[in-house]
Subunit: 350 residues, 2 copies
DNA sequence: GTGAAAGCGCTAACAC
DNA sequence: GTGTTAGCGCTTTCAC
């Protein structure tokens, strides 16, 4: 009768190698206190057997795990996909498992995810999703993270949060200003800004940058229509329809992320609206496809992958007395989707 | 002196609620055997305290965890991103944590990831990455999964593997045939096929379908140039350069995934080559951006998100005596990137 | 340098 | 219904 196969335990390896389970443990975890020859023999046995340690038992016993948490708003969003790939790269390099959690931009979900991560004793937590403008939305998360850090956990965030931890700070405001100055310099005066929820610091900062450009140019930003929708391609499509219906005379649309810009381009194309002939469109982030669209997208470049990598590296470093800040420069990438507005006569209402 | 904050344990909750730790455990895990009033009181205490159970301890004790594993080749690849989003949706619905692992299309990595997942006693494993044509590359994985299943684990795969488990099977061959028939019907006779590694069943099947279309049309597929590169946008760009250099007279390019097609379109655009005016380009998968490109991409639609959801659902079901198979239909999506070839005179070599 | 044994925080028999 | 207790598989003192 065939033996019911079972998942190997450290004990099995120890027995096969003829050593105690303590020695086996030390050999496999690379701890000192075992002669190198013995350790290598044990490792060879483990390899032969195809043994992999149970990470749960391991982290229960050790009180810490070889994994880190990455909290994003939306995995399908290319912004987060690229951040995740950077973090994953660092994780792989350090032999860490990266547990990706998503919140759907819901503060309650964020708290739940952070709690799960804390409870599972991950070695570090990187919060990649934007912070919320209203600090009160994150008090619970902040408390949770403080306890976690007090217990030895490490935390880093990407973007402006009210969390008092190491942060990777993309130049959202400066980028917003740069893209707005670009279209303003091209002569556009009737713009629309397409945004996601203003409750997020990322979006608030980008809007602030756009407003600053208007102020610097002596223009009144208050007159610029702001269309808010989901911060996704689908949201961009909805916003484009709104603009067409309510602000048909705009000559440039500033979308606060590339995903929305892609949705806007799509709607404009299906309506036969020439970009940039009749309306210019700009994005933000410079996701990979931005350069492959037609027209290719003028946008603000943020090195997402490096941001993800840097955030995890910060989190893995020894904690410092005061929170570290790493400002990430932006780059204006002018492509084909923006151009000077059509001559005044061309923009008459029908 | 401030008490050093510590992470809460079940014992803390039990003490606060004035019950035994067993009762607390039962209350929180929703097990029967506790009066509803008491259970609710315990839950309320846990909520007040902000307690979250340590999943490691939980799965070590229970021998199974509330998490499942998803093995993909590449997270940055939109094909897998969409599959993951489907699986994540099901996971969230079932209260499961989805651990995403990536292999970079390396069979050794795949084995390592599966081992980690097995060792951590995930409740189910979904292998979303394509299988390998050479069954020997997966014997180790197969053995690992058999032991896992014998120990009660559940497995499902997406695509053709040699693993003998429940499978979600996209119609890769039929899709390849459909897209090839489409361009053939448009009158194209000088085609090129752009592929990723033929060691993958997904790619081999798609090529097989294309070959079948040629056979059915009485044409010789052996004369069609096949350009192999990385199965990514960057690979597509490389392939496009190759085609331009070595097969300048082709009138249609069949890329075996959309990501490559996007890279090809990008190179053609920068070379001023009209699509579909001079060369038609088709993709495969119908990723979200395919419709937003210009020209919008003719492709074969596969419902990736549903495939991911379905695969996890299969894995979560009670095991059946023989492997289940769920064939996923494809759809030909004709958009703007394909059209009849230019008149013969227009395709003369320079 | 190696082994024995005490937990890590929880679940699941098993008693009451 | 509720409490007691023996592990789950591992790491880590502590002896030897």
């Amino acid at each position: 009768m065939a033996e019911r196969p079972r998942i190997l335990r450290l004990k099995d390896v120890a027995e096969h190698a003829g050593v105690s389970i303590a020695t086996a443990s030390r050999s496999l975890s690379g701890a000192s206190g075992v002669s190198e020859t013995l350790a290598e023999r044990v490792r060879e046995v483990a390899r032969q057997l195809g043994y992999t340690a149970n990470p749960h038992a391991r982290s229960l016993a050790a009180g810490t795990s070889r994994s880190v948490g990455l909290v994003v708003h939306e995995i399908g969003d290319p912004y987060f996909t690229e951040i995740a790939s950077g973090a994953l790269r660092v994780g792989a390099r350090e032999g860490l498992m990266v547990q990706i959690c998503h919140t759907g931009r819901d503060p309650r979900q964020q708290l739940a995810q952070v709690r799960t991560l804390v409870a599972s004793r991950v070695g570090a937590i990187v919060i990649a999703g934007s912070g919320f403008v209203d600090a009160r939305l994150q008090v619970a998360v902040k408390a949770e993270l403080q306890a976690y850090r007090a217990a030895g956990g490490r935390v880093a965030v990407i973007g402006r949060h009210h969390l008092g931890v190491d942060a990777v700070l993309p130049e959202n405001a400066a980028g917003g200003r740069a893209i707005a100055e670009h279209v303003l310099a091209q002569g556009h005066r009737r713009l629309a800004v397409v945004t996601g929820s203003r409750a997020l610091t990322t979006i608030a900062d980008r809007i602030g940058g756009v407003a600053a450009a208007f102020g610097a140019a002596g223009l009144d930003f208050a007159t610029v229509p702001q269309v808010e929708a989901e911060f996704t391609r689908a949201g961009g499509k909805v916003a484009a329809q709104t603009i067409l219906a309510q602000h048909p005379d705009v000559t440039a649309v500033l979308a606060l992320n590339d995903d929305m810009a892609i949705g806007i381009l799509s709607v404009f194309r299906s309506h036969g609206i020439a970009v940039p002939g009749r309306i210019s469109v700009a994005g933000f982030d410079d996701v990979a496809v931005a350069q492959d669209l037609a027209p290719s997208l003028t946008t603000v470049r943020l090195p997402m992958s490096e941001m993800g990598a840097l955030a995890l590296e910060l989190a893995l470093k020894e904690p410092s007395a005061r929170p570290r800040r790493r400002v990430i420069g932006h780059g204006l990438v002018v492509r084909d989707s923006t151009a000077p507005p059509p001559a005044a006569v061309a923009s008459e209402r029908p």
